[in-house]
Symmetry: C2
Subunit: 941 residues, 2 copies
């Protein structure tokens, strides 16, 4: 049949049994043996020719047009009996034949649907009652009914034996192949198959009765605990069918037949109607599994079994057209398209089982599946099998235990190349294009115009702006926001505190909180890449410290000079934006990125641990204490014996009469205020030993780390439904913090807590919210400030852009594009604002940003059992960032709640963030990383 | 050639090139095309017939004697050209042919050796210098040279494509096959191959020169960093060769030829000498890898490559006889037996690489390897490939990414069944005999004679007695002993302490220590299964408690009554020994065992955690303390305000004048002794709050558990040499204890420590080391004691024997047999002794015994890369047990050291023991357990 011909008569359909070519019936009796040998040989040559010869000889022989020229083979028996040589040579390779078959125009009845394959087995012996038992099923990977029949195995890669694949092949060569059969019930199908069998072999009547009986036996599916009723609870499945989106499986007439009126054995059939109204017992259907079956899917039923009266196997491959919902046959109520039947003598059950598995597995193969839908004759199916064989991977017997179940891999290479002619097949190694390290693309091309890049950024991002809010409607965003709010609070406050110490309170916690919140809100609203989280960074702190010291030494106003520098920096950054300097980031190599990010992560981890160790100084423990002396231990406040001048001065200033003070009754803070001295056996260097706090902090720290890591990997746990698991995984860190806060509260040990300023006003009364850039400083400082500003600009540019590069990586599959110029502009503007207001500066924080992106990963949900969820991208939106910083601004009013959060828990969260970011950076994008699979040893039956 | 015929002329050897049948040369020119087609077809039919038909037709056709009747095929070209039908039918299956080949008698030259296979590749282009580069090697699993050529990949299961296997097959059909070639250098081999090629194809002279040049190119191996010399450093390898144990590869003449005198191109050759003297540069040999190659191994070199002047591939399969050490060809200096050469036009390198890998992989297949050694003609090799194909496991293309490297499995099923005729092949699922739960065997058969079982036990064990001491010479035993000493000490002392509390000091820690030591020593010296560790068990403690209460209530002497019961129990146990009652344990099913052991383990884990929780009561923490009030906190001893009568009485008895006591200066213990009261803000219910101890204990507990688990799995870490890793793993627990003791010492928090009695005398002065069984009790108590003794007997019998059953499991592969009767006898005797001496009773402790066995596991060391070390058995000896209990007896003198061991560390060890025993019990023997493999994504080239 030439390509493109639409001849409907060419379709091998059941309606025309008179045509010799229509039904392929392999010879089974001795009379037909020669034909059989013939078939076999031809089949084998086809297989052989399919193998591309490395010896170059094939090319000698094949100097015909290879193209799409597909020859229809002569099917007349014995026609090519004597001289098979040239006929054999006339064959194309199976691969080419398959490509031709797949290339044919689709008529409505041969459009490939998704397939659900089910393997049912029976063992029918004289005098014993038997029924078909579902033993395995396939959506993409194999699931077996485990011994005992009570549960499904984990999905696994169906490892077949080549032996049974060849057996299957010979089954198809010699069995009945009925394509496009029109039948409405399993009874009808059985009769038609047996009619065919009778035509070509010596099927006697008693055998026919027996086989028919076997085929009509009830089907027991794993999910049915017991067969509680013979007449299924009647419910029309039509409504369910109508909901299916696939137009081909929809009832075009919309006619609903009252189910009660249909006798099960004679379903009313409409032309072109694939999905029949039929009584379906939904109570028996595993609705959870049903959800995983794509809409419009059809069933392929593989029925293999032993029947004791048979002396030779009966094989049939049936394609129904239209697909028919055969009630009770399939586990789920979907119409059956394919039937493979193999019934043979008793004793070879294991062999039949393997053939059935092979059949089911090749039916799930993308390419064979299409071939099966479009095949016009037996040889098309054989070509499909041969093409499949040509693509399989082989495990040598001595190196592998076939009973080991292989867990499905994360990715399966695309099979599309098998459909394309000209692509050499059979190569085990595919050369995939390596994801390139550089960051090219339209975003980073120099425009050559002033603000050209910025304008493009805005043009690129503007259409996405509203979707940035719409897309945030997800529980995952809530989880991400809660987690990152907790994670961001602590560094902002700690940083503020440190800055406060360094600048004698000129810029402290409240300024830090206010600045972070303001900058963050503005950035989240208008930046090009709102997934980046701004934060305070170490270099900025160092810079501020040096600046403050400089100002103090030269008696300059720190805040004013700082405002100048900030404004200059902002200006310089805007210049960088104007000149499209951000396009330089395309020179940042993968290595730079990874080195930078790794360094930041390691510093992050180091800092988390360092903070914990720092607690040992703040909360000294009484080492080498003796429990027996506990009744003698105390640490009381006393009048210093030899007060120094400073202390004396203090007493004098505050009018303290030392003899009037009840020193022993003073609390620690009072004693410190009064410049008292601590004496006693329970006193450390700077005051009393603090019991329990340090160790409790250690426990909190490590428990937080372990718990959050564990909860994060909870997604791949084997318990609980997917939804619960993925939610737990999303909320992992928040749940951990919540749990730890409660435990800490219950234990009651006074561990250090998060201290949030509770009043919104500048820390020092001598400064307001607006700082003059000149102030008391000489005029030239305004100009001189450009020198430190240059340094600052470099610092901020690097910090901001490398982080942006990491966030905008190709692996993150961002759809809404990036905006380096816009990002930098926002940072610059807010830097200026912060400088004027005397607030700290904020730039992109690498670890927080990576954590943010990681917490917003989107994975495909509905997939076949065993298929790994695919990474779809990141939930790109502005809401999480916005909410984090809005809530941060409101934190001033939430001190009552926040004061319950122990700092060691937050340190534990930092450790977790550092470690998980480090893993994300170093391993996931690399190809050569080790991957772990757990395998399930296959149950032996 | 009929089976059993020894006709040496039938051997296809190189020496007789005149015979047509000797050298199979596939047709390559167009003239020979028909023959080629013929070959191909026949080859394919052979493959096909090899597939056992499930359709029963085969049996119709194969009603000949299937047996060993192997037909020699007619090799005359064109002889069967026209009528191939009957000739085709005359074939046996490849499997049968292979079995026949393997069954032939072995002449000296065809004895299969171990094989090392190396894949070398070349790409020779005009004007470019090239050399052969080693790209992969096989001992059992494939190792690839990774990109960059600097290191070897992890060994992995060679996943082949079926496509390249078929290509390989056609290579063998059409290529030159030279079996038993006699050649001494690669030059000679090249010439012989090229002669053959010229005979049968149009190999022109320039091509011949080019190919010869390619074949003689230098070989570069991965381990050679650079080729630093052209003439290798000369060293005779004869000495190394002589050391090899295999007689076939030994130089029988012992003649050493001075290496300097041999020109590399014309090595002197002796008949029958496999291992040639030749200059071998040992500096280039990877000696570490060389160690892994079995002695007597031969090399198989697979050489594939592209040569630009070729227009068609040249294929040759060569078997050398004798094997020749071809200097520089193979990575390691072993003689080459097989050579597979595939040189083809440029551009198909990847394809050739895959064919080479396929060849190398089938050469490592146990069966094909034997076939290759014994093959007499080309068809034998083809049958070998077909048989191999028939056994392979197939992974469907759509479900597996062939570039994933599969890590070698723990076990590979035996391939022996492939050698045996009659065993149906091709079944993926092998029904392996499940390890039976019951414990049958000669040990547990009832003899019917008095002490018959005991006598047999002694007879069985006596020959092993001295080896029980010799076999203990191993570092592993030291590790095991140190670990278990620490593990045993704590429960013995804890148990003693509890018993002391329960019996008012009549039996306490020192008695427990003494009893355990004595019983343990005796048991270790004379028991049937010295791997069992005796210990104190919960039920015994309960029994003693009840007995003591009973005695107190009825004013009986506890120790005397106990002695009676003990003696009765001992007697009853001896009766059980005499009547071979231990043979009843064969009725203990796997389920009972596992249930019992699991229960014991769970109790063990529970107790470990419970003890930790118990610390919270002993060391209360000050919950909700305020750090600011630390200066006000104290807990002082004071005079009780309202002393109760008991206190008043105490003061009166001890002549304490309450007003004279400096209550505030009393330590905790003094205060408690004086019946003082604790008052103050730092006081708990029973005394002062103990700071830090509880949390520090928690940290010690969990750190110990985590650290020991981590160190135990250190064996499979990727760093450090195997020896170091296995030592760390062996000493895991001891290292952990040691580390934790040091940390605890450095921190100095007064955590609870192991308290060992320091003086060897009975706890109470009113008892000695010998207890009279009657004592002050009435005479009838001696007889009445038989009733509790019955209960005790059941308790001890069950405890002892179930543990023994678990230890003597088949999976432990014990070689020295068990001795249930002897075990019980020893327990009974020591029970009697302990009763008389007033010491606690000891029986087999399940968890300790399992831990002991696990710590003595023996694994095979030298195995092919990638092969999992095999579990060989247990280091069965008496020394560890003996040493544990000897040292336990000496512990009284080691209190100075032992007092540094914190109890929480020991609790952590218990947790570890419980968890690891539980895992060992529940999972390892089960087939369906999940196993983890890590896979390495195959590098793309």
């Amino acid at each position: 049949m030439p390509a493109g011909s639409n001849d409907p008569d060419g379709v091998l359909s059941y309606q025309r049994p008179d045509e010799e070519a229509v039904v392929d019936q392999g010879g089974t009796s001795t009379i037909l043996n020669i034909h059989y040998e013939k078939e076999e040989l031809e089949g084998h040559r086809t297989l052989y020719v399919g193998v591309r010869m490395p010896l170059g000889r094939q090319s000698h022989r094949h100097h015909r047009t290879h193209g799409q020229k597909h020859r229809r083979r002569m099917r007349g028996k014995g026609a090519s009996q004597g001289e098979e040589g040239p006929e054999a040579l006339a064959h194309d390779t199976p691969s080419q034949r398959v490509q031709f078959i797949l290339g044919t125009e689709e008529d409505e009845e041969h459009v490939p649907h998704d397939l659900f394959t089910e393997l049912d087995e029976i063992c029918l012996k004289e005098g014993e009652d038997a029924e078909w038992k579902e033993t395995a099923r396939w959506l993409k990977f194999e699931e077996d009914v485990e011994d005992g029949g009570e549960r499904w195995s984990k999905p696994y890669v169906a490892t077949l034996s080549l032996h049974s694949l060849f057996e299957l092949r010979s089954c198809l060569i010699n069995g009945t192949v009925l394509l496009d059969m029109r039948a409405n019930s399993i009874e009808e199908i059985s009769d038609l198959i047996l009619d065919q069998q009778e035509l070509f072999s010596d099927l006697n009547d008693s055998m026919r009765v027996k086989v028919r009986e076997a085929l009509l036996k009830k089907h027991h599916h794993q999910n049915e605990k017991k067969r509680n009723n013979l007449i299924p609870i009647v419910r029309s499945f039509a409504e369910v069918g109508k909901k299916q989106s696939d137009p081909h499986s929809m009832d075009k007439h919309g006619q609903t037949v009252s189910p009660q009126s249909i006798p099960t054995t004679s379903l009313e059939v409409k032309n072109g109607v694939n999905c029949e109204h039929s009584p379906v017992d939904l109570s028996k259907v595993d609705l959870h599994f049903m959800k995983k079956i794509p809409t419009g899917a059809e069933a392929s039923n593989v029925l293999v079994g032993e029947v004791d009266s048979l002396d030779r196997p009966i094989v049939a491959f049936v394609r129904l057209s239209p697909a028919v919902l055969l009630s009770g046959l399939t586990e789920v109520p979907i119409p059956t398209r394919f039937l493979f039947i193999l019934l043979g003598p008793v004793g070879k059950g294991q062999q039949y089982h393997e053939i059935g598995r092979s059949m089911a597995t090749i039916m799930t193969d993308e390419i064979f599946h299409d071939v099966a839908y479009k095949a016009k004759e037996r040889d098309d199916l054989l070509a499909g099998i041969d093409e499949f064989l040509d693509q399989v991977t082989v495990l040598p017997p001595g190196e592998w235990d076939p009973s080991i179940r292989i867990e499905p891999p994360k990715n399966v290479p695309s099979q599309e190349k098998r459909k394309m002619p000209g692509v050499p097949n059979g190569n085990v190694c595919h050369i995939e294009p390596e994801p390139h390290g550089g960051h090219s693309g339209p975003e980073l091309q120099r425009t050559g115009r002033l603000f050209g890049g910025l304008v493009l950024d805005i043009k690129r991002k503007a259409p996405w702006y509203w979707s940035d809010y719409r897309d945030a409607l997800s529980l995952q965003c809530l989880a991400s926001f809660l987690f990152l709010y907790c994670a961001c609070m602590s560094p902002v406050i700690t940083f503020g505190g440190l800055l406060g110490e360094a600048t004698e309170g000129r810029i402290s916690a409240i300024e830090s909180l206010f600045g972070a919140s303001m900058t963050g809100i503005a950035y989240s609203l208008f930046a090009g890449q709102a997934l980046t989280i701004l934060g305070s960074t170490g270099p900025v702190l160092v810079f501020e410290k040096i600046l403050f010291k400089f100002c103090k030494d030269y008696a300059l106003s720190y805040l004013s000079l700082r405002a100048c520098i900030g404004l200059w920096t902002a200006f310089l950054c805007i210049v960088l934006v104007a000149t499209d300097a951000s396009s330089l980031v395309c020179y940042i190599t993968r290595f730079t990125e990874e080195a930078f990010a790794s360094l930041i992560c390691i510093i992050f981890i180091y800092e988390a641990i360092e903070k914990l160790i720092h607690l040992a100084e703040t909360y000294p423990i009484h080492m080498h204490s003796q429990l027996d002396h506990l009744s003698l231990y105390y640490c009381r406040c006393t009048l210093p014996e030899n007060p120094n001048n400073h202390t004396l001065q203090y007493w004098k200033d505050h009018n303290i009469v030392t003899t009037e003070v009840h020193w022993a009754n003073l609390t620690v803070s009072e004693c410190q205020e009064m410049h008292g001295e601590f004496t006693g056996s329970a006193c450390g260097h700077h005051g009393p030993y603090t019991p329990d706090v340090l160790f409790w902090s250690c426990i909190l720290f490590f428990t937080t780390f372990i718990l959050s890591s564990t909860l994060k990997t909870f997604k791949t746990s084997r318990y609980f439904p997917t939804r619960v698991r993925s939610m737990v995984s999303d909320f992992a860190v928040f749940l951990t913090i919540f749990t730890m806060v409660i435990i800490d509260f219950l234990i009651g040990v006074p561990s250090p807590k998060l201290q949030v300023p509770s009043v919104f006003k500048p820390t020092r009364d001598d400064r307001g919210w607006i700082i003059s850039p000149i102030g008391p400083n000489p005029w030239w400082t305004v100009i001189a400030a450009v020198i430190p500003a240059l340094l600052c600009t470099i610092l901020i540019f690097m910090d901001q852009q490398i982080t942006a590069v990491i966030i905008n990586r190709k692996e993150h599959k961002l759809k809404k594009g990036c905006g380096y110029h816009l990002d930098l502009l926002m940072v610059a503007i807010m830097l200026g604002v912060c400088s004027i207001m005397g607030l700290p500066w904020f730039v992109a924080a690498t670890v927080l940003s990576i954590t943010h992106v990681n917490s917003l990963k989107l994975e495909s949900e509905c997939s076949a059992p065993g298929e790994q969820p695919k990474f779809l991208g990141i939930r790109e939106q502005r809401v999480t960032g916005l909410m984090i910083f809005v809530l941060m601004g409101c934190s001033v009013f939430m001190t009552a709640i926040l004061k319950f959060i122990p700092m060691p828990v937050l340190y534990g969260v930092f450790l977790y963030m550092g470690v998980s970011s480090l893993q994300g950076i170093q391993y996931s994008p690399r190809k050569s990383s080790l991957r772990s699979y757990s395998m399930d040893r296959r149950k032996l039956n």
